[in-house]
């Protein structure tokens, strides 16, 4: 077996590719998307299709006194109406996949998350009843005739208010609304370091709640087949195998092999489609009762109300420095909202994916972080692009930026005085970074952003009555989720493997079945590039199949920038098995020992000779041989591999944002945004750049525009349409300056680290620091709307 482990090399810009890996190849999936041939869940209409509509709670917190469905059942076209009372006792609640153990040694509070409300509703949008009818309009009309009598209860939506004694109780079993209090790091060492610090920088801020807003709303289409007692579920989802496992084993108690979950083309996820939601689960359950396929598609306001949200932290953070600006310690206290119920991965986001990243790119020797997770009368909060790591970067980089300003040390200089430069590096918060070169990305970003010319641009802007500012964010993330033993020791209730199957057809064409899922990332192209490169084939000779439990052996799906690092490696391992078997077949054909056969450029050759057989001939021999060593080798050329990473990957980089603020209005314009990232080796630079552009725009959205607002009294979601929730539009962002530096990951064969979340991780701190620099304030709350910036300028 060829050793494909990437050699560690000095940091370099991406090398010119010699094969498909590293090439800017146009995407294989594009033609179907560009011609309207994509197949998203709502595009699937099944024979005898019926339609579902969910009646949702209009209250943030209420007791349900009664639900009367008689009139609604007589409404035209109605096929069935189901409430919490109709669910059999054997049906479980929606599970949470990560058990966090608190500082008191107790497991987190895990109140039942019912599929349909059981006596109480706990947020506006909580699912109360499913109506199934011949048409969507009929289902909606019938839902209006359901008579639900509520006794409204006081609600709490702000995480800080929720944790205060006397706050309304979201769940009786969670006193003071606390789900857990969890901590990481050495508190005594941290406190001791603070005691001798020459300077302490302190910030208190909110990391604003965001609503993910994939442009394709969540949707499902569930069908029961009487002939073999099986179910098929189409669902807009990022990980169909996990969806099926959780739904069958933990909620509905259905036999897993009788349920096929298909996540066809999925119109964006950003985390919000990782989870097992009530809607698809109820539709699967009801599809057998109705005897017809049930299609449900969220409208946009439903998506705002019921998709899992992101962020929503209130944090106090302190950085201790010596007189030379060397970081001595960091102390962080965060209150994180969980929402009304624990979503699938909710508990690990503000803990395992947050506190572990607080070392950032720096040698800070002592770090302590305490997180209080609280229930609130809002939609559940879970992973949204970056998931914990943007929040961590915001803490670290806002502290570093503020400390540099306070100590009058240049932003780059303070960072350089504290960069980690020796690898592997064990942080004081559990992670071990394998490789990196933080100076290279900082240098590259400063050059690309033309920091040297900033003073001149600032003066030119001032002449026009505008204020220019520069903000840095040198971020790190932990991707490639996850080494299963590490995840398990931290509370994960499942390993985080990935599977890949490589099927070579008799003509030498290849179909790859991957447990990763593409919902915009371009796996059909990048994964094909990897396989084509290794097997010496054309990219068009390799097809990638994803998103179907009926065709793919297993998968943990796509999130946490894990696809190429974990899913890609599983495929590489399967390819290695194909090559190993191919060598044996080729050896037989050439009548030599397989140890004398090498595989290169799509040919199996006898070492040191020009004797060879091409890959396609070996493939044909594997399936339809006249002459085959049947006593030693099975026919066929189809291999499956599982891969469990040995460590996380650590993409890192520096983002520099330059803003211009209008003095009169407070309006902020992004004058330029520069990102220089180290994602390890790169398979397709065009796709990587696209991921950065998109991530940065979501980060700019968080910093300038987006903010989920619940009314503090009524708990109503005030930002439930695109008129109220400001999404970044084309004119809100500039064209970006992006580049990469490469330190290959040391522990996967492709040397890759992942690139999907970096933009959203680095951008918020860079933007906010740039605004603070421009208007001369210490801090400003996100989103930094024109009004907030204007008020801050008035106060300054």
């Amino acid at each position: 077996m060829t050793d494909t482990t990437a050699a560690k090399t000095a940091t370099r810009p991406a090398a010119k590719p010699t094969g498909p890996i590293g090439a800017r190849i146009e995407r294989k999936e594009d033609v179907r998307f560009l011609t309207g041939a994509g197949q998203y869940t709502d595009d699937v209409t099944l024979p005898h299709q019926s339609y579902g509509f969910f009646l949702r709670s209009p209250y943030a917190h209420a007791k349900i006194r009664s639900i009367k469905t008689d009139a609604a059942k007589k409404s035209p076209g109605v096929l069935g109406i189901y409430t919490g009372a109709d669910l059999p006792a054997s049906v479980g609640g929606l599970p949470c996949g990560w058990l966090i153990t608190g500082t008191d040694g107790q497991p987190m509070k895990e109140p039942k998350h019912p599929l349909l409300a059981q006596g109480k509703v706990r947020y506006v949008g909580d699912h109360v009843a499913l109506v199934v009818a011949e048409t969507y309009a009929q289902a909606k009309e019938a839902a209006e005739k359901i008579d639900v009598q509520y006794d409204e209860l006081p609600a709490v939506v702000d995480p800080r208010a929720a944790a205060k004694p006397g706050a309304p109780a979201v769940h009786d079993e969670a006193p003071n609304n606390v789900c857990y209090v969890w901590a990481l790091g050495d508190k005594a060492a941290t406190d001791a370091a603070f005691a001798k610090a020459a300077h302490v920088t302190t910030l208190e801020f909110i990391n604003n709640r965001l609503i993910p807003n994939a442009i394709e709303p969540r949707a499902c289409n569930a069908a029961y087949n009487r002939s073999d007692e099986s179910y098929t579920l189409y669902v807009s989802n990022q990980n169909p195998h996990v969806e099926r496992l959780l739904m069958t084993a933990f909620v509905l108690g259905l036999p897993e092999h009788k349920v096929r979950v298909i996540a066809p083309d999925v119109g964006g996820g950003f985390g919000s489609k990782i989870y097992l939601y009530a809607e698809e689960t109820v539709c699967v359950w009801a599809s057998k009762l109705v005897g017809r396929p049930i299609k449900w598609t969220a409208d946009r306001t439903e998506a705002f109300l019921s998709d899992a949200h992101g962020r929503d932290h209130a944090t106090r953070a302190e950085l201790a420095l010596d007189k030379d600006g060397k970081f001595l310690a960091m102390r962080v206290k965060t209150t994180a909202a969980m929402g009304a119920y624990l979503s699938t991965f909710a508990s690990c986001i503000p803990t395992i994916l947050y506190a572990t990243l607080l070392a950032g790119q720096y040698t800070t020797p002592a770090i302590h972080c305490e997180v209080t997770a609280v229930f609130t009368n809002t939609a559940p909060v879970d992973a949204y692009r970056g998931a914990g790591r943007p929040e961590a970067t915001y803490v670290v980089e806002r502290l570093v930026t503020t400390a540099a300003t306070e100590m009058k040390i240049a932003q780059d200089e303070l960072r350089r005085r504290n960069f980690i430069r020796t690898f592997p590096y064990q942080t004081p918060v559990a992670l071990q970074y394998d490789t990196g070169d933080y100076d290279a990305c900082l240098d590259g970003a400063m050059k690309l952003a033309d920091v040297a010319g900033f003073a001149k641009r600032k003066a030119e802007a001032a002449a026009r009555g505008k204020l220019r500012g520069l903000g840095y964010a040198s971020y790190i993330e932990a991707c490639g989720l996850a080494p299963s033993n590490v995840a398990g020791s931290l509370g994960a209730r499942a390993g985080l493997f990935e599977a890949g199957e490589v099927r070579v057809h008799p003509t030498g064409k290849v179909t790859v079945f991957t447990g990763s899922h593409s919902h915009g990332q371009g796996h059909e192209t990048t994964f094909a590039q990897v396989v084509a490169d290794r097997l010496g084939l054309g990219v068009d000779d390799v097809d990638i199949v994803h998103g179907d439990t009926g065709r793919i052996p297993f998968g943990m799906g796509t999130y946490g920038s894990r696809s190429i690092a974990v899913g890609g490696t599983a495929i590489m391992k399967a390819v290695d098995k194909i090559v190993a078997k191919g060598r044996k077949i080729a050896a037989h054909l050439m009548e030599v020992s397989d140890t004398d056969v090498e595989f290169k450029d799509g040919k199996f050759s006898v070492k040191g000779t020009d004797k060879n057989v091409p890959f396609a001939q070996v493939a044909l021999t594997a399936y339809v041989p006249h002459n085959y060593p049947l006593d030693k080798l099975e026919p066929g050329l189809d291999e499956t591999a599982f891969y469990d990473p040995t460590n996380f990957t650590y993409p890192a980089g520096t983002h520099i944002c330059e803003v211009e603020v209008d003095k009169a209005t407070g309006q902020t314009t992004i004058a330029s945004f520069t990102a220089v990232d180290d994602f390890g080796n790169i398979i397709n630079p065009m796709i990587v750049e696209g991921q950065v552009h998109g991530g940065v725009t979501q980060g700019i959205g968080q910093a300038l525009l987006e903010g989920c607002v619940y009314d503090r009294q009524s708990g109503q979601l005030l930002t439930a349409t695109y008129m109220d929730y400001a999404m970044p539009r084309a004119a809100d962002v500039p064209s970006f300056k992006v580049d990469t530096r490469v330190t290959p990951c040391t522990h996967n064969p492709l040397g890759v680290k992942g690139c999907g979340e970096a933009g959203a991780i680095g951008a918020p701190a860079a933007v906010i620091s740039a605004i603070c620099d421009a208007i001369g304030v210490k801090d400003i709350e996100m989103p930094a709307t024109a009004e907030r910036v204007w008020r801050a300028m008035k106060k300054a």
């Binding site: 146009e26 995407r27 999936e29 594009d30 033609v31 179907r32 998307f33 560009l34 011609t35 309207g36 041939a37 994509g38 197949q39 998203y40 709502d42 595009d43 209409t45 807003n213 994939a214 442009i215 394709e216 709303p217 083309d265 999925v266 119109g267 964006g268 950003f270 598609t297 409208d299 946009r300 919902h519 915009g520 990332q521 371009g522 065009m686 796709i687 750049e689 696209g690 552009h693 998109g694 991530g695 940065v696 725009t697 979501q698 349409t721 695109y722 008129m723 999404m727 970044p728 539009r729 084309a730 004119a731 962002v733 064209s735 970006f736 933009g759």
Partner: protein, 155 residues
């Protein structure tokens, strides 16, 4: 309650009996099974449902099908000819102006709709002109490049 509507969709004459409240987008997606036109919001904010009505880019979630009586409608399915992509589609592919593909049909139709009024637009003009179309994946960077190329090719 039924009402008859006749229009031309992607070059073909279509006559159908529909409920008067039927939105153009639902008519296109459900009745004509042209599922390339998408629904992202239903309040005319996101632009995923953009089609051409008599050559103008229109959000089909905000128009009744009966309002298209006698109109010539082009959806994303009607843009490419045989095996050749329309220049705007080709430009989106070349510039990686799409990721998940969901906003793409509306974005491409909106861009094609600019051709009459914009020959050699600046980047800022393109960004302003795409104000009615959301993309959550690309950050617009490559869409702007694609639209610039596509419009140049169409001119």
């Amino acid at each position: 309650m039924g009402i008859s509507v006749t229009l031309t969709v992607n070059g073909k004459a279509v006559t159908a009996e529909i409920e008067s409240r039927t939105l153009l987008v639902d008519f296109i997606r459900t009745r004509l099974q042209l599922t390339g036109t998408h629904v992202g919001c239903d309040t005319a904010q996101c632009g995923a449902c953009t089609v051409l009505v008599d050559g103008k880019a229109v959000k089909s979630c905000n128009m009744l099908a009966v309002q298209a009586q006698g109109a010539v409608v082009t959806t994303i399915e009607g843009l490419a000819t045989s095996d050749k992509l329309h220049p705007m589609q080709a430009a989106f592919k070349k510039q990686h102006g799409l990721q998940c593909g969901f906003c793409t049909p509306g974005m491409v139709m909106a861009a094609v709709g600019l051709a009459g009024s914009m020959k050699e637009p600046t980047e800022a003009q393109i960004r302003e002109a795409l104000d009615g179309n959301f993309c959550r994946c690309t950050g617009y960077h490559n869409i702007v490049k694609a639209v610039k190329d596509g419009l140049a090719e169409m001119a």
